[in-house]
């Protein structure tokens, strides 16, 4: 998973804003894609309203579909985790941690995103060379 190649540097992106209200989710995704295409390991952690970026069924007319973008990034190898408490508060959570799926269960988020406790972010931090935050 993370840091398979020990020489490969890791970038973690922390996103605290939902899509379609600002460009921050777009930038988080675009930078993640750029970094993984350049050969870095990349993590994204969705926190606060950032968890809305992973909502299933997004259908924006004029904007980049951020849900689809996250699924595409996950397929490219970006590790994406979404905060459990933030997801629960916003109605995405459907039960207790599922060790087999390595995620809290939710049918309401896009493929490729896992719901984790905040320790998931601490784990990212401990394995990251750099962190970029998109908030405000």
């Amino acid at each position: 998973m993370v840091n398979v190649d020990k020489n490969k540097k890791t970038l973690t992106i922390l996103l605290l804003k939902g899509p379609y209200a600002s460009q921050l989710a777009d930038y988080a995704c675009k930078i993640a894609e750029k970094a993984i295409d350049m050969g870095y390991s990349v993590n994204i952690f969705l926190y606060g309203d950032g968890v809305h970026a992973a909502m299933k069924g997004q259908a924006p007319k004029a904007f980049l579909n951020i849900g689809d973008y996250l699924t595409k990034l996950a397929k490219k190898g970006v590790v994406i985790k979404s905060c459990q408490r933030c997801s629960g508060a916003r109605g995405y959570l459907e039960g207790e941690f599922d060790a087999e799926k390595d995620s809290y269960p939710s049918s309401k988020i896009v493929d490729g995103v896992k719901i984790y406790g905040l320790y998931g972010f601490i784990d990212f931090l401990s394995k990251s060379d750099k962190v970029l935050t998109f908030s405000g």
Partner: protein, 114 residues
């Protein structure tokens, strides 16, 4: 003496972030830090020339003190600012995000977002 990247995403005058970032940049430059500033989203408006507000003037000042300032050409154009309308010294790289990623991963000691 550190190498620090500032990533700015907010418009210069509706919020305080840009100005706060500029204060930190100036302090860093005084200490001898190497500083790169990346203007994304509405923060590209910081690069517009002729500003009388403090944030815009601070961009000229930090460039004169050696900070590198990068902005997105496409974002400037979408806001009606052409290349002739930007503060001299602001760089518009072809691949801004690639430059940011490489700078962050290979050169910077730390990154700060505002």
């Amino acid at each position: 003496m550190k190498s620090i990247i500032f990533v700015l995403t907010k418009a210069p005058y509706g919020k305080s972030e840009s100005e706060e970032a500029m204060h930190l940049v100036l302090e860093g430059l005084k200490k001898g830090d190497t500083i790169s500033i990346y203007l994304l989203s509405d923060a590209v408006l910081l690069a517009k020339n002729g500003q009388r507000g403090r944030a815009g003037k601070a961009i000229e000042e930090v460039i004169s003190h050696g900070a590198k300032v990068y902005a997105s050409r496409a974002e400037l154009l979408s806001r009606g600012v052409s290349e002739s309308g930007i503060i001299p010294g602001v760089v518009l790289p072809e691949d801004l995000l690639g430059a940011l990623v490489e700078d962050a991963m290979e050169r910077a000691d730390s990154t700060l977002s505002f």
